[in-house]
């Protein structure tokens, strides 16, 4: 690897200052994407700005309204070990347990998962399905955008020069709602999704009040399939309706063929995984019914 410097700022302001002064600086959270890409020669930053000592990026807390405030650099293990997350956002806990294996989860963050902007990033469809909002800080102050707006292409995001993802705000779960993420990998773990589908639904009076479907690894970015959610709204959670929504997701996918899977396989898997994820999300919503 080429030489680089390392800084471990203790405050957000200090971190932003370092990033502003060093155009070739790179934020460094768990390093599980960054260090791998640097070793492969895909990135060669001059400075790594360690995010793990900045309080805002390491918070994991619920505010008064029940919104989850999740710092961008919080490692997966803290997420799935947190009782509140396990109880209220089980799909989030599950995806944190899915990324890599135990030693990866000691380090990997959801901020890194999102900022790396791989189409296959597992946590992103979940964050989208859960309506998470990104908090971004930069030289021009703070801004917020929905997670589904964040990635603009493989490895590309909306972050401008000197900007940092501070964390996520995830709204409190509504009553009778449930979410689920399923991915397909040839190995049971330690593998990158060939395709993934997240679903979140709310039931109300026997019908689906709203639903959100988001996909991984089947488009240049993680993909929110609005048409699938729209189609389900106000419909009964029947097998037929679920299949139709899955079909809409399948059509929305724009997969490619690569070493991890073929385009046909991916498109097909989107249908299967969306259907299964919706079924499980609905089952969870039923369980969560007051």
């Amino acid at each position: 690897m080429k030489w680089f410097d390392y800084a471990a700022p203790r405050s957000l302001a200090e971190a932003l200052d370092l990033l502003a002064r060093n155009p070739r600086a790179r934020p460094f959270a768990g390093g599980t994407d960054l260090l791998v890409q640097m070793r492969a020669g895909q990135l060669d930053p001059d400075l790594l700005v360690d995010l793990k000592h900045i309080p805002e990026l390491n918070e994991l807390d619920c505010d008064g309204s029940g919104t989850l405030r999740l710092g961008a650099a919080v490692p997966c293990c803290r997420i799935y070990e947190d009782e509140r997350v396990r109880r209220h956002w089980p799909a989030l806990a599950e995806v944190a347990e899915m990324i890599g294996g135990i030693p990866i989860q000691s380090r990997a963050s959801l901020g890194g998962n999102l900022c790396n902007a791989a189409p296959s990033a597992d946590s992103v469809p979940v964050l989208i399905a859960l309506r998470a909002v990104c908090r971004i800080a930069g030289p021009l102050g703070e801004r917020r955008i929905a997670v589904e707006e964040f990635c603009t292409g493989p490895g590309q995001t909306v972050l401008g020069p000197g900007e940092l993802l501070v964390g996520f705000e995830i709204p409190p779960p509504e009553p009778a709602s449930g979410a689920c993420y399923l991915r397909f990998t040839p190995r049971a773990e330690m593998d990158i999704a060939v395709a993934g589908a997240a679903a979140a639904v709310r039931l109300s009076n026997g019908v689906i009040a709203w639903a959100r479907v988001a996909l991984a690894a089947v488009a240049p970015t993680p993909l929110l399939v609005r048409e699938a959610g729209d189609w389900l709204a106000d419909k009964a959670p029947t097998e037929e309706n679920i299949r139709e929504a899955a079909e809409l997701a399948r059509k929305a996918a724009k997969p490619i063929t690569d070493m991890r899977g073929t385009a046909e396989q991916r498109r097909h898997l989107v249908g299967v995984l969306t259907r299964r994820a919706l079924q499980q999300a609905i089952a969870r919503a039923r369980e969560a019914q007051p």
């Binding site: 397909f184 040839p186 190995r187 049971a188 396989q265 898997l269």
Partner: protein, 749 residues
């Protein structure tokens, strides 16, 4: 079967190197630390096939921290001869061209230059400053395409060997051979059912966890010291010396602990390069391969195209088999097709056989053995056809195999007449196993079986045993220990000497300190080096009897030795008591053993596997797996089970996910442990084992060697199980989810 008479053999002692292995003290290749040591980095070709026009190393040489840069120009151009690698041979000229490419790069990852510098990072930085001008050439990547007359030529000087003779046919075919038994036309005419199928497998890697690492010091007195992770210190010595055009004795190889090898650590890749760098900079140089290089630039095992035609009578007897097989050997010929041909029909007694085999070079890394080299791909084809025949005849697949099973006196396709073998016993153990009888319920589930064979190798080994005054012994051996052979060899000495295993202290020595010993491979180590240890131990006993005779003033013939006690008349002395008195009876006792058995008893293995297929995703889950193998005599059952389980897991990986995934230009796109997808602990079930013991008739303890045959059956067994689960026969490896899905789709349409 080994019970009763033996006291040590058949027990499960703690291994001698155990404490070192669990405390992190065991020193593997990259753990060597020498004063003044610097680090090397190898620059590799980005092209699968290209002419090297020019290499300019001047910028790298000037980079701060760089001590030396070498290219093929630093290699000698000495005479050519064959390096014998036990499981294959390689001309030195090719071995040399493989360690540093001279005029042409033959595969992506082919070494072109190397740098030594004060740190790995600096060496890598400097390597990037080397300018290489390439003239890209069209690569040939597919084995059948490579056989065509108009295919791009990989090696300009390659001439085909045909039926054992060198011809003047130029092309990419290194060898064409043929085995004939009886008359296949007649055999097929007698058959009531005939099945003919085509099979494809792709290149896979041994996947050992420890990357290649070598450290070299070209000493100022002209001797070259090598510390390396190798399966054979002596073969590494010979290859390194010949590549560098040195007398073998000028090179000393110290074998380090080996973090897995499976056939992939017989060749040398880094040793000569590290030596050249050391000669230039006068310091020890260590080169460790990054994982990407391990995939791209060591020796994976060939992909294949195999066509099998078999016929059987309605009564279940196989009457004829015809095989046409072509193996891609990578950049240089490797001979693995020949091994595949020996093994492909080995479990069966078939009167009429015709096998045509081809070794074909392509622009991929030069292939190397992988556990029963060539046999797994072959068995995938043959055992799938055998399964189909059994089905067509309405016979149970194990009964069908038993009906045709090879036994003592049967002829192997290459003509060899079997001695006592355990094929029938393995099949019977499978048939009688509770797994085979257990009901398998649920949709999309199926059970498959398959057989496998590996012929095992004898070859030369050396061993010395010196007696310690406290009644223990030190055993020095030349066999590198890959998986616990220090212990299985020590146990054979202990059995002879009447000692406990822990009273034998085994040492794996460097090439200056012990006699020549062939590589740890071919399932030969417990067999042949164990035999050498048996001889050395008997030599010790012979000498100790003389000492006892001296003390007792009797004839040496009048002294007997049993269960650790020397006796003559009513006088007796334990081994330890006598050991204490060696000084007064003539000095130290050292026993020697050297062996060179020409053949070894082959080993048969079988697998029973249950799978579940998710027809919506194509994913195959292995629910239950039983491995059955003839070990001859199981010296250490724990070690035998370990071999069977390890080979089975590798076979499962080969069956389901592992592959070299190529770009059209010939670049391996999945050269990481993430995307190569070796099985994790979650991808394999508990692996049940059944050790069958049909002692090998010539070995003093009846050992057969168990390292290899176990990997052979799994892919075929899994293919047969998938068929039973979903009614689709897969004839291509790996049977990855996309392939299973496509097979389901094409069946539906």
């Amino acid at each position: 079967m080994s019970g009763g008479t033996y006291r040590v053999i058949g027990t499960r002692p703690i291994r001698h190197d155990g404490a070192d292995k669990v405390t992190g003290r065991a020193l593997f290749g990259a753990d060597v630390r020498l004063p003044g040591m610097v680090y090397g980095y190898v620059l590799r070709s980005p092209y699968a096939h290209a002419r090297i026009r020019r290499i300019d190393t001047s910028r790298a040489e000037k980079h701060p921290g760089v001590l030396a840069v070498v290219t093929a120009a630093d290699l000698p151009t000495g005479p050519d001869r064959l390096i014998d690698l036990v499981e294959g041979t390689l001309p030195v000229s090719y071995a040399r061209a493989n360690v540093l490419a001279r005029d042409k790069v033959l595969y992506k990852g082919h070494a072109v230059a190397a740098v030594a510098a004060v740190s790995r990072h600096v060496a890598e930085e400097a390597a990037r400053l080397i300018e290489v001008e390439y003239e890209p050439l069209p690569p040939v990547l597919d084995v059948l395409e490579a056989m065509r007359e108009d295919a791009p030529r990989v090696l300009e000087d390659l001439r085909m060997r045909e039926f054992g003779e060198l011809t003047d046919k130029a092309g990419n075919i290194g060898e064409h051979f043929r085995h004939v038994l009886g008359d296949v036309e007649k055999g097929f005419a007698e058959a009531d059912v005939i099945v003919e199928r085509e099979f494809r497998t792709v290149m896979v890697h041994q996947g050992y966890l420890e990357p290649q690492s070598a450290t070299a010091l070209w000493n100022q007195d002209g001797r070259v010291y090598i510390w390396t992770t190798t399966q054979g210190a002596f073969s590494a010595r010979e290859a390194t010396a010949w590549i560098l055009d040195l007398p073998v004795s000028q090179v000393r190889v110290t074998p380090m602990e080996v973090g897995g090898a499976f056939g992939g650590k017989i060749r040398v890749y880094l040793e000569p390069v590290a030596a050249l760098l050391s000669r230039k900079c006068g310091r020890p140089v260590q080169i460790t391969m990054p994982r990407r290089d391990v995939f791209e630039a060591t020796g994976p095992t060939p992909g294949t195209y195999i066509r099998v035609k078999m016929g059987a009578r309605a009564d279940g007897r196989i009457t004829a088999a015809q095989v046409w097989m072509a193996y891609e050997t990578g950049a240089f010929p490797s001979g693995q097709c020949g091994f595949g041909a020996i093994c492909i029909l080995a479990p069966y007694d078939i009167p009429n056989v015709l096998i045509d085999g081809y070794d074909v070079v392509v622009n991929k890394p030069s292939t190397a053995p992988y556990r029963a080299p060539g046999a797994t791909q072959a068995a995938f084809a043959a055992e799938s056809v055998v399964d189909e025949l059994a089905e067509r005849l309405g016979m149970d697949p194990i009964e069908f195999r038993l009906k045709n099973a090879a036994r003592e006196g049967s002829r192997r396709a290459d003509g060899l007449k079997y001695q006592r073998i355990g094929c029938v016993e393995v099949l019977e153990a499978m048939r009688n196993h509770p797994h085979y009888r257990a009901p398998l319920e649920g949709p999309n589930r199926g059970r498959g079986v398959a057989m496998g064979y590996w012929f095992n190798i004898g070859w030369y080994s050396s061993c010395t045993i010196s007696v310690n005054p406290d009644g223990t012994v030190n055993l020095v051996e030349g066999s590198v220990d890959l998986s616990g052979t220090r212990t299985t060899i020590a146990m054979q000495a202990a059995e002879v000497l009447g000692l406990r295993p822990e009273q034998v202290h085994p040492v794996v020595a460097d090439t200056d300190s012990i006699g020549p010993t062939a590589v740890t491979g071919g399932s030969r180590t417990t067999y042949a080096t164990g035999w050498a240890a048996w001889e050395a131990a008997n030599d010790v006993i012979r000498q100790m009897k003389q000492r006892a005779a001296l003390l007792w003033e009797v004839d040496p013939e009048a002294v007997c030795f049993e269960h650790g006690v020397f006796r003559s008349g009513d006088r007796s002395m334990t081994f330890a008591e006598l050991a204490e008195r060696l000084e007064e009876t003539g000095g130290p006792v050292i026993g020697r053993g050297t062996v060179n058995p020409s053949s070894a008893g082959g080993s048969f293995a079988g697998a029973i596997v249950d799978v579940e297929v998710d027809p919506e995703t194509g994913k195959v889950t292995v629910l239950r797996f039983t491995s059955v193998q003839d070990a001859g005599t199981a010296i250490n059952p724990t070690a035998v089970e370990g071999q069977m389980q390890g080979g089975s897991a590798q076979g499962i990986g080969w069956a389901l996910n592992e592959e070299y995934y190529w770009s059209p230009e010939g670049a391996m796109l999945n050269s990481s442990l993430l995307d190569y997808r070796e099985p994790t602990a979650l991808d394999v079930p508990p692996i049940e084992t059944v050790i069958v013991e049909v002692p090998e008739p010539e070995h003093p303890f009846g050992v057969r060697g168990v390292g290899e045959a176990n990997i052979v059956p799994p892919p075929a067994a899994i293919a047969n199980a998938i068929y039973r689960a979903i009614g689709v026969r897969l004839r291509q490896l790996p049977m990855k989810p996309s392939a299973v899905l496509e097979a389901i789709w094409s069946k539906e349409s």
